[in-house]
Amino acid sequence: AQQKTTIGVSLAQDDNPFYIAMLKGIRERAQELSWEVVTVSANEDKAKQIAGVQDLVAHGVKGILISPIDAVGVNAAYDAAKAANIPIVSVARGSTSPNQTLHVAMDETQIGRDIAEWTAIAIGGEGKVAMLLGPSGVPTFRNLGDGYAQVMAKYPKIQIVFRADGPLTRERGVKQAEDTLVANPDLKAIYAANDDVALGAMQAVLAADRSGKTIVTGMNGVPPALRAVKDGKLAMTVELNPVLWGRLGVDVLASYLKGEKVEPRVFIKHVIIDQTNIDAKLPKT
């Protein structure tokens, strides 16, 4: 019997719905191609990600899909793949390594800018804004936040009154939003680094009787966030469709393995979801 092609996947996290969905896409597509998938997870620890990729190399995989935790920090992982002549494709996040074979990317800064533009319009170009950033040191979230702040800086009447980093959990969203709403009762908008944080912040807004007056924006487009947009509790979120990313990653790798020519950087589109287009996005129930 012909031996199955095995590919390796190195995730940045395995407890984040985004990566869980992405892995689902990878698995689905791989199954269609009758490939096998070997996964390792790094949980935001760079040394662990390098170790994981080395383990994949030792395992003898044909190609690797990786969501690098850091653009530089895990270059040794790319070096290890290169040394073994295994193609390595970055998905979702990218690397500066010369050994990165391909990159399936999102434009994080642009997403941040888009959220900010949307928010600025929604609050009429003036008022106080709070930012609940992602974990410090994680480039994706730094880029998102930078894009957002860049745009807001262009509005003289918009003030960022609160910036705090933290883990991507709902609980932290509740707590920081509660505190910032006490400090700034007239807050106009809360930027949340992802949907979990946003759902937490939304709860604090409801509890403080500010619903409709303080808007909350999310990112990722996970189902509960979509429902919250539908209910009008969450102002907007950004759909990234990680399942598609996963599929795309596998397809790109497949083309490369077949020797087809592939662009070194493949961008993925993101869609802003708000009241205007939510109905089209919600799964039919």
């Binding site: 407890d15 869980i20 609980e171 509960p224």
Partner: protein
């Protein structure tokens, strides 16, 4: 050396202020913040502080049991997540009460496993509970697939429990308040409580005085697990869903709160209400830094410094 430090501030001891170092730290912290921002003493903020403390307070009570008994529990954070997810899963299918019971029972089961491994097999508590911390987190992800549970809607009564008040105080706050009263009584007035203190103070001497030390030690972990389970259920009510990522770093916060409250990691010392003061110190600290809009990098510096300073003040206490 330790010995003479006991006698360093005799006048302080006379006024018996020294035993109250955590309380004093808390008051100073509150006053300082109140001076810097008038928002601090607003009813909304005080309520926020109480609600934010409530869940950690329940965990800290359980942790105090374990620490008085001479142990250590790193698994509470994972247990919180496990209990919250199980409660949400069961609740959706079998109703509110079943869900709550299932959540607490899951916590007690983790505690029982810890307790048996530590007390019976004599394995080091640090390693054991580090092991269950990782293992239980794995189980949480396995049963939830890593996704939040119950977003499709938990029973409204449960969600209300996470946000509604009784006599002007959130239900979430009543829970640790009542627990504090009941369990302080248990620790101070019953033979069981005395035996826990004795076991933690000197396990061999307690054993020779007829205390079933293994059972006592195991029981402290069951309390800790069960209360972490209850805290998980409360957190699920507050977050309106079971969150598999919930509770990370809770273990360190809880242990820090208990030690700030004057307990000794050598065992045999600790008071429930002081542990709760320890929790309040941690929560008020975070809250005031947020109110003052301190940059989150500087927040870390401040939190680290204040924790150390608070513990150093506590050194003025009678001993250790």
């Amino acid at each position: 050396m330790r010995r003479h430090s006991k006698y360093t501030w005799p006048w302080l001891r006379r006024f018996n202020l020294v035993g109250q170092a955590p309380l004093i730290t808390l008051i100073v912290l509150c006053l300082a913040t109140a001076l810097m921002t008038d928002r601090f003493i607003s009813p909304l903020n005080l309520t926020n502080i109480l609600v934010q403390s409530s869940i950690m307070a329940v965990i800290a009570i359980g942790m105090t049991f374990v620490i008085i008994g001479g142990g250590f529990d790193l698994s509470v954070g994972s247990t919180v997540a496990l209990a919250g997810c199980i409660a949400a899963m069961v609740m959706v299918r079998f109703g509110l009460v079943a869900g709550i019971i299932a959540g607490i029972a899951a916590g007690m089961a983790v505690g029982l496993a810890n307790g048996l491994i530590i007390a019976r097999l004599g394995v080091n508590p640090f390693i054991t509970t580090l092991g269950t911390m990782v293992l239980v987190r794995g189980v949480v992800y396995l049963i939830t697939g890593g996704a939040p549970v119950g977003d499709e809607g938990l029973p409204p009564a449960f969600i209300a429990f996470g946000s509604v008040r009784f006599l002007g105080i959130h239900y979430l706050v009543w829970v640790p308040a009542l627990l504090l009263v009941a369990l302080s009584w248990l620790m101070q007035a019953t033979p069981y409580g005395q035996r826990v203190y004795a076991t933690g103070g000197n396990r061999e001497a307690a054993y020779l005085s007829g205390v079933a030390v293994e059972r006592i030690i195991a029981s402290t972990y069951v309390w800790c697990g069960g209360l972490a389970g209850l805290a998980g259920v409360m957190l699920a009510a507050r977050l309106q869903s079971g969150q598999p990522t919930a509770g990370e770093f809770y273990e360190l916060t809880a242990i820090a709160a208990v030690i700030l409250g004057g307990a000794s990691l050598h065992g045999g010392e600790g008071t429930l209400y002081k542990s709760i003061i320890g929790v309040l110190i941690m929560v008020v600290l975070g809250n005031s830094l947020n109110l003052l809009n301190v940059d989150s990098y500087w927040q870390r510096v401040a939190i680290g410094a204040v924790i150390i300073a608070a513990a150093a003040t506590d050194r003025l206490r009678s001993h250790r």
